[in-house]
Each structure stands twice: as C-alpha cells, then as structure tokens.
C-alpha cells in the first residue's frame, strides 16, 4: 500500500515535470509545480512514515514493466528505504513550500520548473530500486536532473565550471557504482538485489566492492577527497534546490553506501570499519576547516555538508567495526547514531540553506563581508537561522547534539574492540569529531555574526526586507522539527530500531517508555541524556537571567556617554569581519591544509600609500590529487590533437601498425 502511494506520487511528479515543460512561460506554472510537489511530498512522507511506525518489519515489492525488456523494474520498500523516503520527502515537502515563495522571483523559471519535480522523483526511485539496473538508471537520472538545476543560472560566473566538474564527478561515481554492481552480481549476472543478497563474495572481491562503493557513493555524498564538486555545485543551484542537494541528495548517497555495504555485501571484515572511520574523520575536520575559510554563505553551508557527511561515515565505520566483531548492540548504537544524524542533518541543513536563500533573495548577496545587521531587517529569518546554527553546532537542546552525542557514546565503547589498529583509530576519530564540532560552532558564530549582527556593510543589507510567508513557514516547520527531535529523541531513536534490526539483527533498547523522556543508549550507569530537562533548564535559566537583569539592573539610573561597542569610528568597515574572525584558525591550521600565505606591506615612513594585506590560499586536495590528473588529460589531449591533421595514408599506417602489433602480441602469447 505504502509502496503504491509512493510510486503514484513519483508518477505524478514525473507528469508535472512534463507539464512544466509545456507551460514554462506561464506565470501560474511556478505555483502549480510547487503545489503539486508539495502535495506529492506530503503524501509520500505520510505513507513512508506510517510504514516506518506501523508495520516496520514488513517489506513490500512491486514490479513494473518498464526499463529493460523481459526484466522490468523491481521496487521494494523496507524499513531502510522507508527511513530514507521520510528524509527525502520531508526535504521535498519543505523545499516545495519554500519554493512557492522563493520561486516567484526566479529569473529563468523554464530552466528550474521542469527539472525540480523530476529531481524529486529520481531521488525517491533510487531508494525504492530493488535491482542494480533500476538503481543505476535512477541514480543517473537523479544526477542529471540535479546537474540541470545547477546549470539553471549558467550565465553567472563560475556556474558553468561548477556544472562541468559536477558532471565529471557524477559520471565517475556512477561508473564506480556500475563496477560495484558488476562485481556483486558475479559471473551469473543476477542483478536483482535478492540474488545479490543470496551470494557471499570472496574476501578480495568484497574489498574491491567496498572500495568502489566508497568511491561511487562517496563522490556523491562529498567524502574527502571526492568532495571537490560539492562546494561548487551546491551553491550554484537556486536556494531551495541547494537545500535539496545538500540536505537530501547526499543522504541518498549515504543510502546507496548503506544498502551496498550493510545489506548486499554480506558480513564485514574489521578493517572496513577502519577505512570508513578514517575517511569520515578526515572529511569531518577538513570540511569544517574549509568552511571556516569561506565567506560565501552558501558555499560555507556546502562545506559543512562535507563535515556532516564525515560525521555520518564515522558512525557507519563504527557500526562496521562492531558488526565485524559481532558486538551487535554496539553496532546498533553506532548505526542508530549515523542514521539519526542523517535525519538531523537533512533537517537543519535545509533550514540553513532556506535562511541563506532568504538572505540572498532580500539582498542579492552571498558574501558575508557585504552583509551585516540583518537581524533588524529580517528578524524571523534571523531567529530561524540561529536555531539552525545552534543545531548544526551540536548544542543542546537541539537535534544535532543528540546524534553527535550518540556517536560519542559508540566511540566510548571502542576499548572493547579486540583489534589494536581499531583501538588507536577510533579514539583518533573521536578527537576529530570533537574538533570538528567545536570548529563548526566557531564557524557558525562567524556566519551568524557577520550576516545578521553588527551593522550593515552595504546598502543592500541596509534596505533588506523580510522574506515571504511561504518561506518563513517552511523554515519554522524545520525549526520546530529541530527542537522536537532534540527534546524528544527517544521517539526518533525508536523509529530507527526496525532499520538496525533489518541490517544488524539488533536494536537499541526502547527509549520512549523511559521515565521523564530520558534516553539511555547503553546502560543508565554509563550515560543518559534528557533533552526535555535540558530544554527546561536552558529556558528557565534564560528567563531567570532576563528577569533578574530587568528587575534590578535596569532601574539603576546612570548618565554617561553611549557605549560605542568598541569601535569609536562609526563607519561599518571598521567592524569585526568574517575574515578577521577566521584568522586565528587560519594561522593554526591553514599553513598545512591550505598553504595559506599572508603578506603584509607597510609603507615606509613618509610614504602616503595605504598599507596592504595579501592572503593566498591553495586547495591541498586539488593540488595533490586533481591537478596532476588534469595535467595528464590535457597533455594527452594536446598530443591527440595532432592526430587530427594526419593524412589518410598516415591513418591507414596507424591502423595497419596496430593490427600487426596486436597480431604479434597474439602470436607471442600462445
């Protein structure tokens, strides 16, 4: 039933996409497309959510006569798929709601409207696919539609390059997944997931599958060092699409990884966990460091996606390590933490991109160094953005804290692991997680402070208007979800139990029945967390503080010059900037990770030219990994270019020479 509903929603979305092509010029189309996407998202969300809550253990299958002849397309809805359907459709529901307002200002609706519902449909189908062919086809469909959305504003500077790099990386990732499924299916070519599940590949083969799955899904999710396209492509799309790509599409990639490695591949080896953990830890730290160096609001958020994907992969790596050592309860804890973070990140990352989109819509600026003081002009957006920032910085009582706390609980179980390598790596990953959480908090102090606090640095920020009601509604739904998931995490953890039951044959103890809504992941003697209590405490302390100050402090009358907030020169350029905020961190980490190089020029006494400050930064990953590849490809292309002006006889000679060469190889071979 739920599967039928979701598939019908997908069909409706695809139909809407076709209609939007026809009606791209009409002004009503925008309203129509986002309205239908909103309704379809709500239906699918309801169906998948109901499935996860009411009948979690069951699985529904369907077969449609489309795709390859005689094979058809297989679809299956189980607990894992239902969970990711909830994430996807929550994202599509809120971004459609946001799009109702935001999409009215779209300069080229004909480039966005047809692809938006198709993109949503593609993501839904990937999660439902039950054979390798359908999976790859829908995966590529999702990639291509999102690419089209990235290229919506293709005339803007850098967008074409972003689209180009995204296209290359997406094709590369799909190629890796194609090989993954080729290896999984084996020589008999059983491409249905049932057939793949039934076979257990050899150790070498599963290592190859793990590597390819990490490359394929990791390049879509944005795992370092395959993340280079993500901070270029995500900000280039319209903001509600950025929210979908960053908040939701990366989760579809995580789904692909979980489906392949936890479900299809068979029992894991312990070192898989070490590999995944290491990659996750590196992604978490590098992602947030990159984000700290960014002053473009949307690009900063995109780099934070890299960080959060790293956190999710830390959880997945822990789950693999525990599962390989048959510590099922610990594995269930780690996987629950990862999946809960999947949900949480999709919620607050969408919220933050909506906020960035509202700022962009109101000011036309993404560079924080040009913004400032927006809390006076856009108070509601500022509140929503602050809530999202608190959540992503893993501060209680919001939801980001709970999932990162659960990840730490799993990390603290690592001394029980027998392998020495894991005993070293897991605490190191824990340290990286702690570092990235702290740096993320610093980064959002910078982002919120530079954008919303202080005084406007440009006139566009001074004249900004609060965004429309649709967008605000979308944002505040997400704020509410952040808060609810942070205060009442027990219900969410219990909803994840069928997924861990499906993948690991174990689950966390039920949390919702515990007294006072406490969550106790392992044992009450070890650790527990009560979001509600903490929320009450924070609220009471805040109220009490405010009350005390207003009751006693403000009545004391004192005449003095108004405090100038530390900058007596009243011009806005003298304010503390985002760049100055990030400088200490850049001094600590930037020398290695970014080859940051600062140059200060102070004119000698008597000269009147201004002092100058130059900062140059290089992307280490790009320089080490991608620049050589680019060089080799360019070199080969230049050489091959000369072939084009060869004579006919030279072509024939080349053909003849290669035929003779191959025949010689054949003769020697035998």
């Amino acid at each position: 039933m739920a599967l039928t509903i979701v598939l019908s929603c997908v069909a409706v979305l695809l139909g809407t996409s076709a209609l939007a092509v026809a009606g791209a010029r009409s002004s009503l189309t925008s309203f129509f497309v986002y309205g239908v996407a909103l309704a379809a998202g709500a239906c699918a969300l309801g169906a998948a959510g109901a499935m996860l809550v009411i009948a979690p253990g069951s699985a529904q299958t369907a077969q449609l006569p489309i795709g390859l002849p005689w094979l058809g397309a297989h679809f299956r809805l189980d607990a894992l798929a239902a969970l990711f359907l909830v994430v996807i459709n929550l994202g599509s529901f809120t971004s459609s709601l946001y799009g109702l307002g935001y999409g009215r200002h779209e300069s080229s609706p004909g480039r966005v409207l047809p692809f938006f519902p198709a993109f949503l449909a593609g993501m839904n189908l990937v999660v439902l696919a039950d054979d390798a062919f359908t999976f790859l086809l829908t995966w590529e469909f999702m990639s291509l539609t999102s690419w089209a959305l990235v290229m919506a504003h293709h005339r803007e500077r850098d967008n074409a390059r972003a689209g180009y790099i995204y296209l290359i990386m997406a094709s590369f990732g799909t190629l890796a997944l194609l090989l993954t499924f080729g290896l999984l299916a084996g020589p008999n070519g059983g491409y249905a997931f049932d057939a793949i599940r039934a076979t257990t590949p050899s150790a070498g083969l599963s290592a190859a599958v793990l590597t390819l799955a990490l490359i394929g899904a990791g390049s879509k999710a944005g795992l370092v060092p395959l993340h280079v396209w993500l901070p270029l492509a995500h900000p280039a799309a319209p903001s509600h699409v950025s929210a979908l790509m960053s908040g939701v599409m990366t989760k579809v990639a995580v789904y692909g990884f979980v489906r392949i490695v936890f479900d299809l591949l068979g029992p894991p080896q312990w070192w898989w966990g070490a590999v995944v953990l290491t990659l996750g830890g590196i992604s978490a730290v590098l992602g947030v460091l990159y984000a700290l160096m960014q002053h473009d609001l949307k690009r900063l958020l995109a780099y934070h996606t890299v960080e959060n994907i790293g956190i999710i992969f830390i959880g997945l790596g822990l789950a693999l390590a525990f599962r390989a050592n048959d510590m099922r309860a610990a594995a269930a804890l780690a996987l629950t933490a990862a999946l809960f973070h999947v949900f949480n990140h999709s919620v607050f990352k969408s919220l933050l991109f909506f906020g960035a989109g509202a700022v962009l819509g109101a000011t036309g600026e993404r560079d924080m160094e040009h913004l400032g003081g927006l809390i006076h002009r856009m108070p509601l957006t500022a509140i929503a953005f602050l809530a999202g920032s608190t959540a992503i910085s893993a501060l209680p009582p919001f939801n980001g804290f709970v999932s990162e706390w659960l990840t730490f609980q799993a990390i603290l179980l690592s001394p029980q692991l027998p392998q020495w390598l894991l005993k070293f790596i897991v605490p190191a990953a824990g340290a990286m997680l702690a570092l990235s959480a702290a740096l993320a908090a610093g980064c959002f102090v910078k982002a919120f402070g530079a954008t919303f606090l202080g005084r406007p640095r440009r006139s566009v920020a001074q004249n900004a208007q609060e965004t429309d009601a649709w967008s605000l509604a979308a944002m505040f739904i997400l704020v509410l979800l952040c808060l609810v998931a942070g205060i009442l995490p027990g219900y969410f953890i219990d909803a994840l139990a069928p997924v861990t039951q499906l993948l690991l044959d174990a689950r966390l103890a039920p949390q919702a029945q515990l007294r006072w809504l406490t969550i106790v992941p392992i044992a009450a003697s070890r650790s527990s967390y009560n979001g509600l209590l903490l929320f009450v405490l924070v609220a009471a302390a805040g109220w009490l503080g405010a009350y005390v100050i207003h009751r006693w402090a403000s009545h004391a009358l004192r005449r003095a010059a108004a405090w100038d907030c530390g900058f007596p020169d009243a011009r806005p350029v003298t304010q503390y900037t985002a760049g100055s905020f990030a400088q200490p961190i850049r001094r600590v980490f930037g020398g290695f990770a970014f080859r940051a190089h600062e140059q200060v020029y102070i004119p000698p006494p008597g000269q009147i030219q201004p002092a100058q400050f130059h900062l140059s930064m290089r992307d280490l990953v790009w320089d080490v990994l991608y620049a050589p590849i680019e060089g080799v490809v360019n070199f080969a292309a230049d050489r091959l270019n000369q072939v084009q002006s060869w004579t006919i006889r030279a072509y024939l000679t080349m053909v003849f020479g290669s035929v003779v060469l191959l025949l010689m190889v054949l003769a020697v071979w035998h």
Binding site: S645, I648, R649, A650, L652, T653, F656, V660, L663, A667
Partner: protein, 220 residues
C-alpha cells in the same frame, strides 16, 4: 579424393598469396590492373573449387560474381578511367620495392604464426585457408600504405576484399545473401572511388594523393 581436394584448395589459396606479392611488386599501372584481374580469377577459381568440394552450389554464384565483377568489369572500368584521364602510368612508392617485399614476407610469416596455433581445433582446410587469407589481407593493407597513387590504393582495397572472400568460403556455411551484399558494396565502392578519381583529377591535375594531403594542410 580428400587428399587431392585439399591440395588443390591449397594450391589456389597459396596462388592467391603469390599473386598478392606480384601486386606488391608491380609498379606500372596497366600491369597492376592485369595482375588484379588475375587475383580475382584465382579467387573465383578457389571459391568454385570450394563449391565443388563442399557441395555448396550457392558458392558457384559467389565465384561467378567474383569472376564477372572483379576480374572483368572493374579492371576494364579502371583501365578506361586511366586512359580517359591520361594518368601517369608509373606508380610512386614509399620506400623501395625490395623493402616492401621483405615486409610482406614478414607479414605472411606472422599470419601463419598467429593462425595455426589459434585454430588448432578447426579442420586442416579451414586452418591453412585462414592463414593464407590473413596474409592476403595484410598484404593488401601494406599495398595501400606503401603506394602514393589513388588507383593502386583502390586495387589494394579490392585485394583485401578478395582475401575476406577466401576466408569466408573456407569456413563452411556462409549465406549467399552476405556474399551478394559484399559484392554489391564493392561495386558501389568502385563507383564512389571512380567519381573520387575524376574529382581529384579535375581539381589537382594529378592522381598523386600527396596533392590532397598538401591541400588539407597536413604535414608535407
């Protein structure tokens, strides 16, 4: 009977390789056409013999097509073109004739070395015919790249096609329709190449493909 049949088939196939060497050696235009006619004659004899020993009457049609089209129509047509265009009657070669012949011998050795071990399971007839036909194909390619003249490139191309027919008839059971379509495509190729020759001649006053290369701006 079997022994004799095999020997005669080998005689024709080996004769074809020999005639290919003659093509390679020839540096006069009309001589080249005559030897190509001989090449086609040997192919049609070989195919006819195969038709006889395999009791496959449709191969007689193949042999007939080869005889009529390649041994008679194409040489005559090319001769008329050459006369009408007043083409220079000697052929420029790339590298000396002797070196080309040595390379050709190497190619025959290579094709025998490749074919005999690979086709160990096939019948004797098929094996050696395949080796011979691969030699003919490689010699035709060698001829195409070692001549600067467009007419001799056409002859090289057609001798490659003869080698393919030899290979195809040695393997039992090639359908007639394939053979007819191949023959038809050869006729089309002749027409296209004939027009091509006229065009070169009109535009460049020479039959040397070198002129085309200069015109295209490639390396001299």
């Amino acid at each position: 009977m079997d022994r004799l049949a095999l020997d005669v088939a080998h005689l024709f196939a080996g004769g074809l390789v020999l005639v290919s060497f003659m093509l390679l050696y020839q540096d006069r235009m009309f001589g080249l056409l005559n030897i190509f006619a001989l090449h086609a004659l040997v192919v049609s004899l070989s195919v006819a013999w195969q038709a006889h020993i395999q009791s496959a009457p449709h191969l007689y049609i193949t042999a007939g097509i080869a005889l009529v089209v390649k041994a008679i129509i194409i040489p005559v047509a090319l001769r008329r073109i050459i006369v009408r265009l007043g083409i220079h009657r000697t052929i420029d070669t790339v590298g000396g004739i002797g070196q080309t012949m040595l390379a050709g011998i190497g190619l025959v050795a290579l094709s025998i070395m490749v074919m005999l071990p690979i086709t160990a399971e096939a019948g004797t007839l098929t094996r050696e015919d395949l080796a011979f036909s691969l030699s003919v194909i490689l010699l035709g390619l060698l001829m195409m790249i070692s001549r600067r003249n467009a007419v001799s490139q056409i002859i090289g191309f057609m001798s490659i096609e003869n080698g393919l027919i030899l290979a195809a008839t040695a393997a039992k059971g090639m359908p007639l329709v394939v053979e007819i379509s191949v023959a038809f495509s050869i006729v089309i190729a002749l027409i296209v190449i004939g027009i091509f020759l006229f065009r070169i001649r009109e535009n460049f006053d020479t039959m040397d493909v070198h002129a085309l290369e200069r015109f295209r701006g490639g390396q001299p």
